[in-house]
């Protein structure tokens, strides 16, 4: 290393004396701890929303069971071609006892228009 290069190095080393104020690094640690706590609190909150504590888990199990029961009812409801063959499992059809006037189901029924 030549002399001017050594002198440059000496001068640049003076930058070591640029230092933050006293107590800066104690405050730095406190800031780091507080940021970490904030992050962990928000992460913990998100986790509890997704995976849940004991209370949330009960709701998830309940909702799951209700959904499974609903699915079972839908699948077992007799509305397929096999169900028609089995008379005992035919759905009950309610038929009206009196014809309904102007009904779409009985278009041939006479229509009487009252005269004044």
């Amino acid at each position: 290393m030549n002399e001017p290069e050594k002198q440059v190095q000496k001068l640049i080393r003076l930058k070591r004396f640029e230092e933050p104020r006293d107590g800066y690094f104690e405050d730095f640690l406190k800031e780091f701890q507080s940021r970490r706590n904030e992050r962990e609190t928000s992460k913990g909150f998100l986790n509890s929303r997704v995976s849940g504590g004991a209370g949330n888990r009960k709701w998830f199990i309940g909702a799951g069971m209700a959904y499974a029961a609903l699915l079972a009812v839908v699948l077992m409801w007799p509305n397929g071609p096999e169900a028609k063959q089995d008379a005992s499992r035919q759905p009950i059809i309610f038929e009206p006892k009196q014809p309904v006037r102007n009904s779409v189901t009985s278009p041939k029924a006479p229509v009487s228009i009252p005269r004044p």
Partner: protein
């Protein structure tokens, strides 16, 4: 140092602290923060010449290291690992910041008066050498900021922080030859900027 460290041994090796931190001991990680924040802050500060940016970036570096700690396998020292994170984040930051930022410098420590280089300057015949410390600080920063980010990184680590070539090459993931050549060219460029202070 915080009273939280009363039960901590000041001589705990990095590996011990890292291992405890990986098991969820936040106090162990805090000790690593205490141990390395001055050096990391210094590196980032000399790279950015802005104390607010240096503070935010150093915080971000430790936050990233804390999140990634479980991926640290100990193939390098913790010091090299966190320095590599710090250097990469700073270089990325500088690419985005470009030339927008203004300087915001830390004060000079009174110890500078006793430094060999400072004593030389003070005793030199040239009245320009008697220039006040702020002027010198300004010139040094101008000279540093005239370097490319890659050159400034090696000057910061080698000349200011005294990190050996081999360690810098691991941090920057370049060969030792590249570190030496970057230093050589950086010194040449700095000579041009600091001519008036060189005998």
């Amino acid at each position: 140092m915080s009273s939280e460290f009363e039960n901590e041994s000041p001589t705990d090796a990095d590996e011990v602290l890292v291992s405890r931190a990986q098991s969820g001991d936040t106090l162990a990680f805090d000790q690593l923060v205490v141990r390395y924040s001055p050096r990391l802050y210094g590196m980032i500060y000399h790279m950015t010449s802005n104390k607010e940016d240096a503070n935010d970036l150093t915080q971000d570096v430790f936050a990233k290291a804390y999140r990634s700690l479980n991926r640290f396998r100990g193939r390098s020292s913790f010091y090299t690992w966190i320095y590599a994170i710090g250097t990469n984040m700073t270089l990325n930051f500088l690419k985005k910041r470009n030339r927008r930022a203004a300087w915001s410098l830390d004060n000079l420590d009174s110890g500078i008066q006793n430094d060999e280089a400072m004593v030389d300057l003070a005793h030199a015949a040239n009245p320009r050498h008697q220039s006040d410390l702020n002027e010198l600080q300004k010139k040094l920063n101008e000279a540093m900021q005239s370097l490319s980010n890659a050159h400034r990184a090696v000057v910061t680590m080698f000349d200011i922080q005294g990190i050996p070539h081999a360690e810098i090459s691991k941090i920057l993931k370049v060969s030792e030859g590249t570190v030496r050549s970057r230093l050589f060219y950086a010194h040449r460029q700095l000579q041009g900027h600091l001519e008036e202070f060189i005998k």
